[in-house]
Amino acid sequence: MNKKQLLVAAIENGTVIDHIPAEKLFAVVNLLHLEQITSAVTIGYNLQSQELGTKSIIKIADKFFTDEELNQLAVVCPNLTLCIIRDYEIVEKRTVDLPNELFGIVKCTNPKCITNNEPMRTHFHVHGPQRNALKCHYCNTVISLDGVQLIKP
């Protein structure tokens, strides 16, 4: 990410999430519960991107997420770029890593799974040698990562 581009809507302190595939924007908004944030949030939708064609970007002022919160984004978009901004400078740039376990994010596709019938949190383990699937901790159903349904907030 070049600095000139960043300066356009620079934030003093906060988090920038870049390279969101355009259609995944709202999933990211939901996962981070951005609707509950009171500081300034800038959302760019359908921007030009050399790598993705179109992309989305989110800048959240005065907000720093935990690794746990950020890593869950890997469920919907594994190739995000995250920038932590302090005093207009990027102090940390990183990608997201899919955690080994996911709690309360993904919905089990098995209608007979206990998690779809009881007020409780879902729990999945990352599954398979390519780490491209999730396995329900309760009913053992295996879901491919590109087909995941997120729990509605």
Binding site: N110, K112, C113, I114, T115, N117, E118, P119, M120, C136, H137, Y138, C139, N140, T141, V142
Partner: protein, 310 residues
């Protein structure tokens, strides 16, 4: 005890040894003063009677329900509330549920041990334990056996649990099923990932059976088919008839989780290869072992038990 997949080879062998002790002396006062709850959110007379007999023969007292219609679940109570309530009364809960993962969830919230007596199409570990005990008893070993699974391999959870448990013991599996009820890809991947050999057949005849140490029969159910023409076409192809045993190995035993409808010809019952009724009896000893293990009673204690009723 929620799933057999959690158990190591050593643990399975340990439980088999414990079941052997109970077979020698099934009547004891080892669980005297304890209360076993059997919660059957889905009716299963056979499994419930087996667990309740196991508890009773060890001197425990049993509470519970056999039919979900009489419980508050039908009034909208959550599983959690039922489990928390019963945990106040009982020392251990044996539960059967129609939802998959119910036992795992119960084990996470309950302050007392949970024994899974079947959760939907997912797991039925006490059946698997009695199957393993039956295989061990009839073959004197669990290693390097030729195990033939016949019938409904798509939905049959007993055959899936069998794969999960037997993979410790280098078996060769033979899957014999109509295409519509073939072993799901997920389990074949499991076999390949764990180096388990398997052969798939659609034919079921004396020549195929001749290679078996264990012939594990399951029922091909009409309601499993989307295409009823297909059902009509294959329904009789997976029935075991007496003349199909002509080339069987002398040590070969026929297992079936029961209930049987017509998939094993009735005249086979008197044949020395038939083992399904003894297999059901082994369920008692396997479940005695599972109850004691879940309550923290060790094999050593079972061996040195002074409460045996002669």
């Amino acid at each position: 005890m929620v799933t057999i997949a959690d158990h190591s080879r050593e643990k399975i062998e340990y439980l088999i040894q414990m079941a052997q002790e109970f077979e020698k002396h099934p009547n004891r006062r080892l669980l005297e003063g304890r209360i076993v709850a059997t919660l059957f959110f889905e009716p299963s007379t056979r499994t419930r009677l087996s667990f309740e007999t196991a508890a009773n023969r060890l001197g425990a007292r049993v509470i519970g329900f056999a039919d979900p219609k009489v419980t508050s679940g039908t009034k909208g109570e959550t599983l959690k509330d039922t489990i928390m309530m019963v945990s106040n009364y009982a020392d251990i809960i044996v539960m059967r549920h129609f939802l998959e993962g119910a036992a795992r969830y119960a084990s996470e919230i309950a302050p007392v041990p949970i024994v899974n007596a079947g959760d939907g199409a997912n797991q039925h570990p006490s059946q698997t334990m009695l199957d393993l005990y039956s295989i061990y008893k009839t073959q004197s070993r669990l290693d390097d056996l030729d195990i033939f699974l016949v019938g409904d391999l798509k939905y049959g959870r007993t055959v899936h649990s069998m794969l999960n448990a037997m993979y410790h013991f280098h078996p060769t599996f033979h899957f014999i099923a109509p295409e519509e009820l073939a072993m799901p890809e997920m389990y074949k991947t499991f076999c390949r990932d764990h180096g388990i050999k398997y052969v798939e057949h659609t034919d079921f005849n004396a020549d195929v059976i001749s290679g078996a140490d264990i012939l594990y029969m399951t029922r091909v159910q009409r309601e499993r088919f989307t295409d009823l023409m297909e059902y009509e076409r294959v329904k009789d192809r997976y029935l075991l008839k007496l003349d199909m045993l002509s080339k069987a190995r002398p040590n070969m035993k026929i297992l079936h989780p029961l209930p049987r409808v017509n998939e094993i010809e009735y005249c086979i019952d008197e044949n020395p290869h038939a083992y399904y009724f003894e297999q059901a009896r082994n369920g008692l000893y396997a479940r005695q072992a599972l109850l004691c293990d879940a309550l923290g009673i060790s094999l050593e204690e079972v061996k040195n038990d002074k409460t045996i009723i002669p």
